[in-house]
Amino acid sequence: MAVFADRYPEEARVVRLALASAFLALFLGGLMGPIQALHRTGYVQFLDDSTYYTVLTLHGVALALLFTIFFLVGFFHWAVTDSLDRNAESTRFSLLWYGMMVLGAAMSAVTILAGFVGQVDMSADVLFTFYAPLQAHPLFYAGLAVFLIGTWLAGVDWFRSWYHWKQAHPGERTPLRTFMVLTTMLMWYLATAGVAIAVVFFLLPWSLGLIGSVNPLLTRTLFWFFGHPVVYFWLMPVYMLWYVILPKLAGGRLFSDPLARIVFVLFLVLSVPTGIHHQYLDPGIAEGFKFLAMTNTMFLLLPSLLTAFTVVASIEHGARQRGGEGYLGWLGALPWRNPTFTGLALAGLMFAAAGFSGMVNAAMNLNYVVHNTLWVVGHFHLTVGTAVALSFMAATYWFLPLLTGREIFSERMGLAQVLLWFVGMVMMSNAMHRAGMAGVPRRTADPTYDIAFESGMGTISELRLQIALGGVILTLSLALFFANLLISWFDVGETRAATGETLPPALSGPEHAPAVLENLRLWTAIAIVLVLLTYVLPLAAIVDGSGLLGNIDRAVPMLLDLGRIALEVVA
């Protein structure tokens, strides 16, 4: 049977390109991981402490922006093409948005990498959040803007396909995967408005010297306007995997298509008006706005909790189709030797744990105990680091054959890889949570101070050992992934031809979904209203209090010479 690459060769090529970019980013960012894990725990320090922050910027930007989003656009391009069963409107347009994303990524990456090279007067040691008054080279901000515009155009590509499909299929429900893509992109357009304004109107002109200052609280608030929904942007393709692919792998069918649609609509509506929960401890924002962000965030738990039910129910259905019996015995009937199944299932399990540590973060006054500590790092290594990254890696074993027409080189290697990731992450993340509770800070090259941290039991040095060890195990897993990937992609081993796969229909199908769910304009309007209600007043207060451009006239360019000057002053 023909696979996707046979039926849609041009679209498959775009998807392969996107995935290649994603994996390059994963490689660069992932290489930084063990360097950090071993440096900040004191085991292996071959870099200057100040270079750690260049490493950290690359790690964050490459993994949390480039790897995740390149994978998403590739995966979504497949999802729309395959579920609508029609070609993209214009391959040239698809290559345009892909090319813009690559250009933007390269622009920003060059500035970050230049931070390693002392002779070049360019750097961007500003970390993934690039808070002013820390300042990066203008190319960094310009690159981010170009990358974002590329993603916007990708959404246009998919909306165009949907529009033409609707004209050919009047009155029909949008196929589930396309529905998921469209709701996700609508959320993305809303979410990126904040960071686009911050970068285009403030940070970029400021770094070019066109304006004298920026208001740090304003640009920070605009960043977090984007910074929370971006995590849902990364998660939505994962949810598509868990809703659409995982049940099939388990031998069953999705429990409820309408419920999946409701979950995605809830994310469209609720993801953006929560960003202030990253700013609970900021001065300049009234407590009432923080409280509102807290309640919005708590309700945002709902779609994830609903997903947990549906996904487990779908898997259980599959297990019983395969002969599983008993209250828990059916777990044994699942295809645990299938690396995609096991990876996705473990990622889902980790996500549940991550949800609980996230609830702690969200619980406003409890946030005092964990903000900016290593707890937060433990949390997001469970969410983006496992729920997203592990799902993407596991999905690759299933997805790549559809794009190349050849099976993966080794299923066993894939299985070992996903298990190693899980083992390493459980160990590392648990230790990070505990270290954070003791007050160990995040984003810090060598957190040893004149006064020691006290952990509840055991010592900080035990926690450091677990973090280092966990990081090393994760690196081994990543090496296995790349070995398997490269051999499969370049067909070094002799592999079998892939067979096409169909996705079974849901147990409760789209015809049971209320028609109002299709009304994307309605949901977008509600989303916009909620954002206005949550953000207009706090933003107005910030601008009113300290001006649109801030009343401070400083920039702190993150250049290497500054580092040397500072060291001379302190030493």
Binding site: D49, Y52, Y53, Y131, L134, N215, P216, L217, R220, S256, L259, Q279, Y280, L281, D282, P283, G284, I285, A286, E287, K290, F291, M298, L301, L302, L305, L306, F309, A313, A362, A363, M364, N365, L366, Y368, V369, H371, N372, T373, A438, G439, V440, P441, R443, A445, D446, P447, D450, I451, F453, E454, H512, A541, G550, N551, I552, R554, L562, G563, A566
Partner: protein, 175 residues
Amino acid sequence: MEIHRYERLWFAAALVLIVAFIATVVYGAVGAGVEMIDDDGGTIDPDNWQDHEVYDEGIGVFAANDSDADYEVKMVAQHPAFSPGTVTVPENSTVRFYITSLDVIHGYDVAGTNINSMIIPGQISEFTAEFDETGEYLVVCNEYCGPNHHNMEGSIQVVPESEWNPDDALVGGDA
């Protein structure tokens, strides 16, 4: 739209859980009285911070002039140090902090406690803490602020009341 019975139960349980979480936060705010850092501290011009009324007596530890606190700490953060770096207060005192940044965004985190604040240039962070136990508390800057961020630390010394000497501890004057 048909919803399975278990799913309806789960949905109800999820809502109960969410409401319970919100209730605990409300309790923390209203019952236990944990206030969030907010805009009470006001704004400031980092280039002319010494002209601001909060810093009219300079930085250091001062006696508070109101009933809500015993002492006030006036502090500034500038990579890679807090000034004053060490704060000494007696046990069982209530201390109000005013902190601002003279350069970039910093964090002020007293490890092992729930004293934790962002320090943003242009804004003054104001918060009040009760120090019930003696001890030496590590203060960490937990927001990346430059190449020496990992060396940015301070301390809070909470001494027994018998050892507390206002003449030594309370200071006035310039940075």
